[in-house]
């Protein structure tokens, strides 16, 4: 019997493990791993597999905006209506309903600042129910997806006898 939490933690940290490798690591069989992964996909618990890329190295001009959106909730739909509309944009990489001084936090990635500004002014601000927006541009990433950027990956352990 596979511990599904243990399986999820394992592939959350390394999506490239093969089913055979996962089976070995969990002390299970490949078939069991495959059917468990299928079940987790069917249940929409596993949604997809991403690669964590340090785009600052490959495409340093890329821009990321964190956009705070204040909303007047729509009758019967609350905040979901606007959140769902904004989530449909491919360049919106995350959309959260949050507590505090605003309602939605949108993460938007594009190639230029101008494009982000246009998205805010033309797509978000014009939606019915949006009261205001505040846009923050990300200047540097230190940690994302649980990974620290530019952390040295060295093993400084000495060969000592024990």
């Amino acid at each position: 019997m596979i511990d599904d939490i243990e399986l999820l933690r394992l592939i959350e940290n390394n999506a490239r493990l093969s089913s055979a490798e996962i089976a070995t690591m969990l002390g299970s069989s490949e078939d069991e791993v495959n059917s468990e992964i299928d079940r987790l996909k069917d249940d929409n618990i596993i949604l997809g597999y991403n690669t964590v890329i340090n785009w600052e190295k490959k495409a340093p001009d890329n821009c990321i905006g964190m956009i705070e959106v204040r909303i007047a909730p729509v009758k019967n739909k609350g905040y979901d209506h606007i959140a769902q509309i904004l989530s449909k944009y491919d360049k919106v990489t995350a959309c959260y309903l949050v507590s505090g001084g605003f309602d939605l936090m949108i993460i938007y990635e594009d190639s230029t600042l101008r494009n982000i500004a246009n998205f805010v002014t033309e797509k978000i601000a014009t939606l019915d129910g949006v009261l205001s927006t505040t846009t923050h541009f990300i200047l540097k990433k230190y940690k994302a997806n649980g990974l620290i950027y530019d952390s040295p990956d060295t093993d400084d352990r000495q060969a000592i006898i024990l």
């Binding site: 093993d155 060969a159 006898i161």
Partner: protein, 395 residues
């Protein structure tokens, strides 16, 4: 004009041979190019941040002085809380816990506090290289019990019984075991306890540095948990392996006050106290880091299974280890000695592992493979091991 040093060095020190694997490590260090090391007996994880931060904050707050000889009472109390929580055993932090410089100091303190010249100490091999040496430095006589792979390297009660004489002062047991990865369950220990009940004068040194790295049920199992012998079991424990804190050099002794007191005497004259910064880190480790241990243990367990599978694929016999972060496969089928196997594996495939004879004569024919290494390195090393063994079999 040359000074004759030969007779100046203590005979007790002279008689302890230099480590058999020093040469091997020198070779590994001199190798050019990338060497995968599965030879190191320390965690590859960096100490969890909250523990490091506690150490840093102690410096910021100016705690840079000697602590009391036994350690800060807050640190000892944190250790006592930990032992109560994880072992279900109560120790009085005021008199029954001594904070040491790593578990290693604990081994030395026990030897020096207990041994009169000629006293025998039962050493259960294969084992950590320091057990025998600390006994010999203290003018004791090690009496070796060799555990066997067919018993999963557990200490069998009849083996212990056979080693005991009227000169036996104490026995040293270390489980989960370095180098075999063997564990003893409470049922296994109960049988050892029965032997000890028949020999009411014998003391136990239980080295429990790997106590949290138990993959059977994740819980420490120990002779300290038997109240009938509590008055003569000395636990040597620490934070190096379980909490990835090797460089902090901090461990502890827990045992009856009458046995701890003489060790405090030696400790206060030789060491004064364990580093204060490390003692502050210990409070955080003992009180708030259980989650971190679970995370590391889970990852070690995944790698353990990959190693076991790799050994099987390579055609090497290995009993299934359930503790520490070592596997101890048999290499007799290759026709090589442990040292030849390791040296050739290093030179031909650039993977460093440790010959089993370094941990006692009964380790000959075996090698220690550490899985305190990244999964990528382990996978690559197991692939190379398979190639290497196949090459050997082809001749």
């Amino acid at each position: 004009m040359s000074f004759d040093y030969t007779n100046k060095i203590s005979k007790a020190v002279q008689q302890v041979p230099p480590s058999a694997i020093r040469k091997f490590f020198d070779l590994a260090n001199e190798m050019k190019g990338h060497v995968i090391s599965l030879s190191i007996g320390e965690p590859d994880f960096v100490t969890p941040w909250s523990i490091r931060e506690a150490g840093i904050n102690s410096l910021i707050d100016g705690y840079t002085h000697y602590s009391p000889n036994s350690g800060y009472i807050d640190s000892r109390t944190a250790i006592a809380d930990y032992l109560k929580r994880r072992y279900g055993v109560a120790y009085d932090p005021a008199h029954e816990i001594l904070i040491t410089v790593g578990g290693s100091e604990g081994l030395d303190l026990v030897a020096r506090a207990l041994i009169n010249p000629g006293d025998e100490v039962v050493v259960v091999e294969p084992c950590f290289v320091a057990y025998k040496a600390t006994v010999e430095f203290a003018h004791g006589v090690p009496v070796v019990v060799s555990t066997k792979p067919e018993n999963d390297y557990r200490l069998m009660p009849e083996e212990l019984e056979a080693a005991i004489t009227d000169k036996t002062k104490y026995i040293i047991v270390g489980y989960p075991n370095n180098p075999t990865g063997a564990v003893m369950t409470l049922e296994d220990w109960a049988k050892i306890k029965d032997v000890l009940l028949r020999h009411p004068d014998i003391i136990v040194l239980s080295d429990e540095l790997y106590c949290e790295l138990n993959y059977l049920d994740g819980k420490p199992a120990s002779l300290t948990q038997f109240s009938e012998i509590r008055d003569r079991v000395i636990m040597v424990n620490g934070f190096s392996k379980s909490y990835a804190m090797t460089g902090f050099r901090v461990g502890y002794i827990a045992g009856p006050a009458e046995l701890v007191a003489p060790m405090i005497k030696i400790h206060q004259y030789c060491i004064m106290c364990a580093p204060s910064l490390s003692q502050f880190a210990v409070i955080e480790a003992a009180m708030n880091a259980d989650d971190e241990i679970v995370k590391m243990r889970t990852e070690y367990n995944h790698r353990r299974r990959v190693i076991i599978q790799g050994l099987k694929d390579a055609g090497l016999e290995c009993f299934v280890p359930y503790g520490a972060f070592y596997a101890f496969p048999c290499i007799k089928s290759t026709g090589l000695t442990s040292e030849e196997f390791c040296e050739r594996f290093l030179l031909e495939k650039h993977v460093a592992i440790v010959p089993g004879n370094a941990f006692g004569e009964c380790g000959e024919g075996f090698v220690r493979i550490s899985y305190a290494a990244s999964l990528e390195d382990i996978k690559e090393a197991m692939k190379l091991l398979k190639e290497f063994v196949e090459d050997l079999k082809k001749g």
